[in-house]
Subunit: 441 residues, 2 copies
């Protein structure tokens, strides 16, 4: 019987296992997961911290038992893979303090990402990453009143919202000159920054030097802050140590894969945050450690292992986050990124409303579109708004992925009804501004 081993029971691993199972009903499938949770969603941690829900089990889409019973997938939780021997085609775990080997025909590497760490150590230095640790971290945070967050990226602002909503005094310390500076261009990022600054204390252009007193004293290049705890949210990196030196690693530091999710080693696949991808616009290696990509990579790996050929088209880099009333999204390249790749761009920003003038409750929405100058193809978009951001973002992801021109985007036959938009949708207006150079309604 063919043996499939999956390392890491997150989104990518469980999706891969599930699709392999569907296509090969008799395959022997084992998932090793270091924690007690599988098919979990770390994305919920900020909202759990905020206290919007209290049942830890809700982090899991399906339980280990469900996978065992319904999908005949042998899920071994609380079991860390400590060695991978790709030459000998086995992996090693500890079972009752003894090393135990498992052989595989197929292997999926889906160990995810891990938080980047700072040099300082301490009990009150917290990394928000795995749902299995969420309760412990939440307890620490709930018992603190003054909390520093290091890093003004997505996780930083989501945690700032959560902690401020819990009545904590938050100090957000950020190295960049505006928040979300890796996700948004400055024009859009500043709008978010202003909003966040109106709610919590933000220190911009300020770099961490060290953290002392076990997490209670922050020293930056500009000042000192006494707090009760510190959340470090300075980014993530691929969690791939267990295979390092045995497999091709890509430019981004994640495991290199082809468009079938095959690594450089036969019948060894990688998927999710552990795997690298190719950017559809630049055709260059890229790494987009977000859940929808992880799930789809798992789908591709699982199908190919199951014998059904599926090709992953690559990534455009769609990201969405929320701070208070603001939903903030981007897809494709920012102008900053485009510049780095030597792509000449033109862009347009339109601020509009989400409902007809006369319909109550209309909210602001701002769309930035970026096109490649020669072809006028849309290569990126950024949106900030209070409602109906998600669908527009997904629309623009499709547009970027297929290479619509600004003119083609303008002519997309959008729908209109007064309670949910304007007759000229904000996206249509932004496309028109790019395409004709003319703003206004």
């Amino acid at each position: 019987m063919e043996k499939l081993i999956v390392i890491g029971g997150g989104a990518a691993g469980m999706t891969a296992a599930s699709w392999a199972r569907r296509l090969k009903p008799n395959m022997d499938i084992i998932v090793f997961e270091a924690t007690r949770m599988v098919s979990h969603a770390p994305c919920g941690i900020p909202y759990y911290t905020e206290g919007l829900f209290n049942d830890e089990n809700l982090f899991m889409t399906y339980t280990p038992e469900y996978f065992k019973e319904k999908r005949k997938i042998d899920v071994k939780i609380n079991t860390r893979v400590v060695e991978v021997n790709l030459k000998d085609r086995n992996i090693v775990i500890f079972e009752n303090l003894e090393k135990k080997k498992y052989e595989f025909d197929y292997l999926v590497l889906s160990m995810g990402a891990r938080p980047k760490r700072i040099d300082s150590e301490g009990e009150k230095i917290l990394y928000v990453h795995h749902p299995a640790d969420a309760t412990q971290i939440r307890n620490e945070l709930w018992s603190s009143s003054r909390i520093a967050i290091i890093g003004g990226g997505i996780l930083g602002i989501e945690m700032a919202e959560a902690l401020q909503a819990r009545g904590k005094k938050v100090i957000l310390i950020h190295r960049g000159k505006y928040l979300l500076n890796r996700m948004l261009d400055e024009d859009m990022g500043k709008i978010v920054t202003e909003k966040v600054m109106s709610e919590v204390e933000v220190k911009l252009n300020e770099s961490l030097v060290e953290i002392k007193n076990g997490g209670k004293l922050i020293i930056t290049d500009k000042g000192k802050y006494e707090v009760d705890a510190t959340v470090v949210a300075i980014g993530v990196e691929p969690n791939i140590d267990v295979v390092k030196g045995q497999i091709k690693i890509g430019e981004t530091g994640a495991i290199w894969v082809d468009d079938h999710m095959r690594t450089s080693v036969p019948n060894v696949y990688a998927a999710g945050d552990a795997a690298e991808s190719v950017n559809i616009i630049t055709k260059k290696p890229d790494w987009i450690p977000f859940a929808p990509v992880a799930n789809k990579m798992g789908f591709v790996a699982g199908n190919n292992i199951g014998g059904k050929e599926v090709v992953f088209p690559g990534v455009v880099g769609t990201v969405i986050t929320k701070f208070k009333e603001y939903i903030i999204g981007k897809t494709g390249l920012t102008e900053n990124e485009a510049r780095r790749y030597g792509i000449k761009t033109v862009s347009a920003i339109v601020r509009h409303k989400t409902r007809a003038r006369y319909y109550p409750g209309g909210k602001d929405i701002i769309v930035k579109l970026i096109a490649e100058e020669n072809s006028m193809r849309i290569i990126g978009a950024q949106i900030i708004g209070e409602e109906e951001v998600l669908g527009r973002l997904n629309m623009l992801a499709a547009v970027v992925q297929k290479g619509f021109t600004a003119e083609e985007l303008f002519f997309v036959e959008t729908g209109y009804v007064p309670p949910v938009n304007r007759v000229w949708d904000v996206v249509t207006l932004a496309a028109r501004k790019l395409y004709t150079g003319v703003g206004g309604e």
Copy 2:
């Protein structure tokens, strides 16, 4: 000096005039508008009837004065064009009870649509169509307590919501076996029908025979209803009498145009509800009397008259409406329509939620996708949901317009954050169901 005349100052006419002006600063532009309103939005009438706003001027995006002053467009309101002589290249109006001729080099026909009428006449038989009549109709309705609506299409259900919200007793009489039966397939239409039936009295499969007592007695093939007033909402037709016999009329009854919005007569353009279009999927004539199409046709006509060549790509038929909490949209072909065109289809329906399991306030959302069987290209979509319908609908309009396959749609890199969707977006799941045959998360 070149002379442009525009007949009808609605969305299409004013957009055409504005773009012609922009490109030809010296052109002599006159718009004739039968009512006192220009660049108006009839779409607001149901919400005005509901009492959500009371300032009639809000129906207009810009006032006649604005066009005169800012855009140097001579807007003649309260001026109906009574004759058009395409051979002699002039139009005729009444000025102080005298006929007066105006000559043109370019003409835009943008008279819009008009409500289909029933045979019976009466003071209490109301047609909801032009914002200029909205106040009068609203007064009639507000002073009535029992109101019949004939027709369970978009306008019928929007008026039902409005009147019920005003505390009126509404009886909605509909010939079809479910509501919105020209917009939705039965599976989706039934969901809307159930919702409407839970709020107002609905009579299905019931045909009007006549209306008596000036609008106060409805006689159908199944019964009699005494009411205080009747709203007739049985559809619209192109308003083109003024040029009939002088110009090519298309199969749909609207004015035939090419993809530049040129009619069969040189330098005579048509745009908006008065004009026919070509369906991008079927390549057959189609008529989509909705505001975004009207505006874009006006844009195309205005640009071409202005000397900048712009091509209208055709229509897919995007429609969106609202009944209470439900936002209901469709784009592309329904299965019913596809069948009529001899297109073999496969379809998938997915019911999902708009937010993560654990995030408060998640709403139901249902997506139906329709693909052409051989190519698996998405040719239609229908959505019913309580939030985030618009953007998804527009996304699917783009998808239909560009001919994405189900697989390509599945691989669109959607964004995910727990407060605004699920990690597998409902659209992604529906695409996956089409593409793999497998449902579930």
